[in-house]
Symmetry: C2
Subunit: 347 residues, 2 copies
DNA sequence: CTGAAAGCGCTTACAG
DNA sequence: CTGAAAGCGCTTACAG
């Protein structure tokens, strides 16, 4: 019998070196003779050796684990395809850089526990916080405890924080300008929740567009949703009596709900009410009619967010980074642009 | 200055006990005087102490981390609401039992790495494997390395494996019998991928139903999908020339695609073609028409899967467990049952 | 470029 | 019910 559990000691023995040297090759320390490195590597490979994560974590104070924290104010929202795409991006970056991902869905009743795990149990080297409320307790905690972290979505107050985001405000403005340019006169909006920065910024973009065209915003044409399909549905119903001829909806999922409400009310899209969404979820291209929407690179945001966090972890005292990813207005049928062009060509 | 990092030593000092005792109260060892336990607890609370996870992992050989492995043959599928629901269930169980969740999306090119992390890096105490192919390499690995694991979905070959599942076969059979009972004569099916056990079992259930009614299965009415919306769409198109009057689709997401194909072909649902899905995803109740479907408790499967894994971890040599969760046929409009009943009542 | 040794922060027989 | 001490499997100054 060789032994119980395969450790660095066995590798050292078989490679004819000390444990220090084995450790150095594991950690890619350049101070190892090429031939030695080679020898150690091949022994590790042969024995299928993987250094113990807990031991490394304890000795080095680094776990090579990234935490992903998603505050779960509304559990149902987590089913939005937004999160799978984000998670895939993060996971892809982790795979590529030999990190792993720890997932915490921070349910309110366990938030305290989650925070403790993050800041004082040393389980992770840093965290990515997605979809947080503007006054989230997790953000406060990692800030004061100096845990490296990156936000998906900017923070409304702290400007010295690293985040990756899109320009919600400008992209929303452009989407609304697109509607105005098509000739719609009563452009409404269903905003996201206004205790989330994305909701806030997209609403600001909506107002920017009106102001740019000298239109006075009508508060009756503005309603707040919560990013869920159900809220898109009920909010649209509530907006209908105001007779909007177009609407900018702050997420595709809510847009789906809004379309359902319009259909039930016997309104044709885009003829009676035109609609533009936000996200470009997979289903947007397949809805009836296909949804005009603002595409944002969610997978990419996850990937870049994870890589940025890794940089923050390796460079102590790194300066905060702000990464803004590009968006794109994807024009399909729900905004009426195609219909109009066809009419024009026929005329 | 008190110190650098808060450890068990500081707690011991302030509580006037040894490190051993502090460790005992952390681990809920009953052999501690109630008063002592009380004192230690209050010191920990006061200092906001959280034992270091790596140190515990190294010393005890337990990490209190569960791995969730999702083989990612088709990355796009991960956006299916199935996974968020499953993850939420697992996460809820972990929160409740003071475990954490490690997430590995096993992309093919990193599968080897994932396996190594699981079996020899000691990062997790056990793993949950969801949505695996029937011959998945990860399953092989955890089996031979004796890592505690539970499958979401039974295994076609190994019967000594712990899993949680629904009775896919019987529930599919009942769904198809429902259609036959409504009088449909040419009942088709879009199956799931046949290299996944769920796909296999639901197809078997479809055939069971036909056989039970003495109907010979027509191979032209059977087509294989891959659980994606797109495959539901294209497969439905391919089935259309066979003129089915009803169809059982092995997932709601595919059913959505099938409905899109029917709509484009000018077919009315359920009048021209009735349809029954599987899963009861949130969108099923809101589709047009609302989808009749087999509800399965996905969140619950995640929760129970995680709890079962915890049991496996604490009882060494535990016997394999098989947990079958109940399903329910949810009758809405797409199967035509309501329409028919109304007609009958009018007559 | 390499090795001997201390140390990371816990847990757990062992002894009492 | 409690404490002293060995040990978990690595990393990392330090010395050479």
């Amino acid at each position: 019998m060789t032994s119980d559990r395969l450790t660095i000691i066995e590798i050292a023995k078989q490679a004819g070196v000390s444990r220090s040297t084995v450790s150095r090759v594991i950690n890619d320390d350049p101070n190892v003779h090429a031939a030695t490195r080679q020898r150690v590597r091949s022994v590790m490979q042969k024995l299928n050796f993987q250094p113990n994560a807990a031991a490394r974590g304890l000795a080095a104070g680094k776990t090579r684990i990234l935490g992903l924290v998603i505050p779960m104010g509304v559990a149902a929202l987590f089913s939005d395809p937004y999160f799978p795409q984000l998670i895939q991006g993060i996971s892809a970056a982790c795979n590529q850089h030999d990190y792993s991902t720890m997932l915490w869905l921070a349910e309110p009743e366990y938030e305290r526990r989650t925070i403790q795990q993050i800041v004082s149990a040393g389980m992770v080297d840093g965290v990515i916080i997605a979809s947080a409320l503007t006054d989230d307790a997790v953000i406060e905690a990692v800030r004061t405890h100096k845990v490296p972290f990156v936000l998906i979505g900017r923070h409304p107050v702290y400007v010295d924080i690293t985040y990756v985001d899109v320009d919600n405000r400008v992209s929303a403005r452009d989407a609304v300008l697109h509607l105005i340019r098509l000739g719609y006169k009563r452009v409404a909006t269903i905003s996201g929740p206004l205790n989330m920065i994305g909701g806030l910024d997209r609403l600001a973009g909506y107002k920017d567009a009106l102001k740019a065209r000298g239109i006075v915003a009508d508060p009756n044409l503005i309603a707040e949703g919560d990013f869920s399909e159900a809220s898109g549905y009920s909010t649209m119903q509530q907006l209908l009596p105001q007779e909007p001829d177009a609407i900018f909806v702050a997420s595709d999922t809510m847009a789906l709900g809004a379309m359902r409400a319009l259909r039930e009310a016997g309104k044709r899209i885009p003829d009676d009410v035109a609609i533009v969404g936000y996200d470009d979820m997979p289903f947007a291209a397949r809805s009836d009619p296909p949804l005009t929407t603002v595409r944002q690179p969610i997978h990419r945001a996850g990937f870049v967010g994870a890589e940025t966090l890794m940089e923050l972890i390796s460079e102590q005292d790194a300066a905060p980074r702000r990464v803004i990813l590009p968006t794109e207005l994807v024009i399909r049928d729900s905004c009426g642009a195609r219909v109009m062009r066809e009419k024009k060509m026929r005329a």
